[in-house]
């Protein structure tokens, strides 16, 4: 099952289990069905529960909050993370605060799906991911799946969570296939996943960066470097215990974020690890992420913009002070850097 199918599966299950689940957003019932993620929902659950909308992001988020107050469990979809910047007020000043600000009397079960663009010249305003902002907003949960399987499980948990959840989907995850459990399968929010145990170094990553980290693991395992890879799953709340336990064991940390490294989840992780694992650290922790720079459109300018498995290997090589011949890997790369695979022909 690929990523959109997993999302679609989760939506179908949620909507079957609970009549209060609603799905709306620009294009949810158009021919493309949000890259297939909302396929057949309208046919199966009716046009009242699955509906297209005007281009009015701020009101649409407010309407979701109102639906939630009225007893529904809305799922709003935005085709790009960048567009939701129009609705920050409704998310931060209303949805996130409602439960606490009104004496914990009414909660807001509300999922906002945000798709992060990447590649093929998405450029300055179609490839941003400000998940770190939302991770700084008390009252929100921020979920970042890294595979079809956890996407399904996390989306089901998000829909049935009693709080507003920002659900961040990287577009490049969409083509990954894996076996996904059938039925109402849930992955808990707030719990990181230890993808591989290891003792030399801890790698913490999220979203598509976990895919790159997994690729790096294949190579590193061959070289007998024992890495512990932790995928965060959720960046608010962060599963600090799992992180501290791992770093206390390995004494080394690379924290990778799938957006700019500046003021990122990776920065916060390092800051807290410093506080909690100070005496156990063998090396200074390292952060990775995109440059603190506006993303350009040109093919030439996005080369090396994203960390990949090679740059991860490179970091590890310098952290452990060993030579891992990552330069050879670079020469082997065939797919252009700005597409997820050669089958991709643009423009979206």
């Amino acid at each position: 099952m690929n990523f959109p199918e997993a999302i679609n599966d989760a939506m179908k299950i949620a909507m079957s289990i609970d009549k209060k689940v609603i799905c709306y957003g620009l294009g949810v019932d158009d021919p493309k069905r949000i890259f297939g993620t909302t396929k057949r929902l309208k046919e199966r659950f009716g046009p009242e529960r699955v509906f297209d909308v005007p281009t009015s992001e701020n009101a649409l988020v407010g309407i979701g909050t109102g639906l939630a107050l009225g007893g529904y469990k809305p799922v709003f979809v935005s085709q790009r993370f960048d567009f939701i910047l129009l609705a920050i007020d409704q998310i931060v000043n209303a949805a996130a605060k409602w439960f606490y600000m009104f004496g914990s009397k009414n909660n807001i079960p509300f999922v906002i799906r945000l798709i992060v663009g990447r590649g093929w010249g998405q450029g300055p305003t179609h490839s941003q991911s400000y998940h770190a902002w939302f991770a700084n907003v008390p009252g929100l949960k921020v979920v970042m799946p890294s595979s079809p399987k956890n996407a399904k499980g996390l989306l089901l948990s998000s829909i049935f969570d009693k709080n507003p959840v920002i659900f961040v989907e990287n577009r490049w995850l969409y083509n990954i296939n894996e076996k996904v459990p059938t039925g109402d399968f849930r992955v808990p929010i707030g719990k990181a996943s230890v993808i591989q145990e290891g003792k030399d170094i801890t790698i913490i990553s999220n979203s598509f960066m976990t895919v790159e980290a997994k690729r790096a693991l294949k190579f590193l395992n061959d070289k007998k470097i024992s890495c512990e890879l932790i995928d965060l799953h959720t960046v608010r709340p962060v599963d600090w215990e799992t992180i501290y336990r791992s770093v206390n064991k390995t004494g080394r940390l690379i924290a990778i974020d799938s957006s700019s490294h500046n003021l990122s989840i990776a920065s916060e992780i390092i800051t807290r690890v410093i506080d909690k694992c100070w005496t156990k650290l063998k090396n200074k922790p390292v952060k990775m992420g995109l440059p603190d720079h506006i993303q350009p459109t040109s093919f030439a300018l996005t080369k090396n913009f994203y960390p990949d498995y090679i740059s991860i290997i490179k970091e590890i090589s310098s952290l452990l002070n060993i030579s891992l011949e990552w330069k050879k890997l670079q020469e082997k790369q065939e797919t252009p850097h700005d597409i997820p695979g050669t089958w991709f022909k643009g423009p979206f």
Binding site: I22, N58, G66, F102, G103, K105
Partner: protein, 324 residues
Amino acid sequence: MKNVIDYYKKIYYVMKRIRLVEEEISKNYKHQKMRCPTHLSIGQELVGGLISLFLKKNDFAISTHRAHAHYLGKGGDLKALISELYGKITGCSKGRGGSMHLIDKKVSFMGSTAIVGSNIPIGVGLALSIKFDKSNKISCIFLGDGSIEEGVFFESVNFTAVKPTPTLFICENNNYSVYTPIHLRQPSDRKIYEMVESLGVKSFLADSRDINDTIIKFKKAVKFVRENKQPVFFEITTYRWKEHCGPNEDDHLKYRSEKELSEWKKADPLKEIEKVLLKNHLLTNIQIKKITHKIKDEIAKAFDYAEKSEFPKFNSVNIDEYAN
């Protein structure tokens, strides 16, 4: 006509109660125990009265920074209101929200928010939930003339014009946003209700100084929303007597003319209703005294309750920020 007068007695009581509550808040504010920004509705009580007449307990309501009158008109708990201003655990929002964040679920008063315009789409969402429920409730959104200028107002109106929901927008046009008169914010020759009509939502205009007309129109508006499950925009001209935020007068600031203020005070809907009731022998001066006394007694008890209530305790973990 006789019909309408029947409503006067109930509306009088509700408005009088709002007035006395607001006056007591104003009087006591200086003791510095109500430590939060507070926007009074003195002069604008009619809307509180109207909703007490025509809304049902389970109709949704959602309001703004200036919400006391709506909260009370909808039947919100007085003790919980005053306690909220005092920041006590017995406050309707457990002291976390203050004057600008009121809630009373028992009467479907779903909240009031302090970002201009931010309650509007939420009210439309509530109306959409009613539509999905196929119930015959309605959703009331209180808003000021200033909130009209926020894009989200337009987006919300457009949404419910395309996708009809039982929404009643109640716009109190008091001519000011803080100290800025409406003609600096909206074209002078444009009427809000006419503009909204052209956006595709049925609209009404009423003047709070013409009480009969206002009552009749409001009744009609509510009926229309409930029966047709379609939105209505109800604009009512009104006037705020006190300063924008806080317990005092602000005449010395001269952003509005003395004449304007005094004319509006002269036309006070509350006094007008009282006059009509007296004239029609539906109320006597003795009864007024009794009512006043009864309300004042209730208010005194509410303040006493608030004073005596405990303060909440701060919990440094994010407890109560997430529902489980």
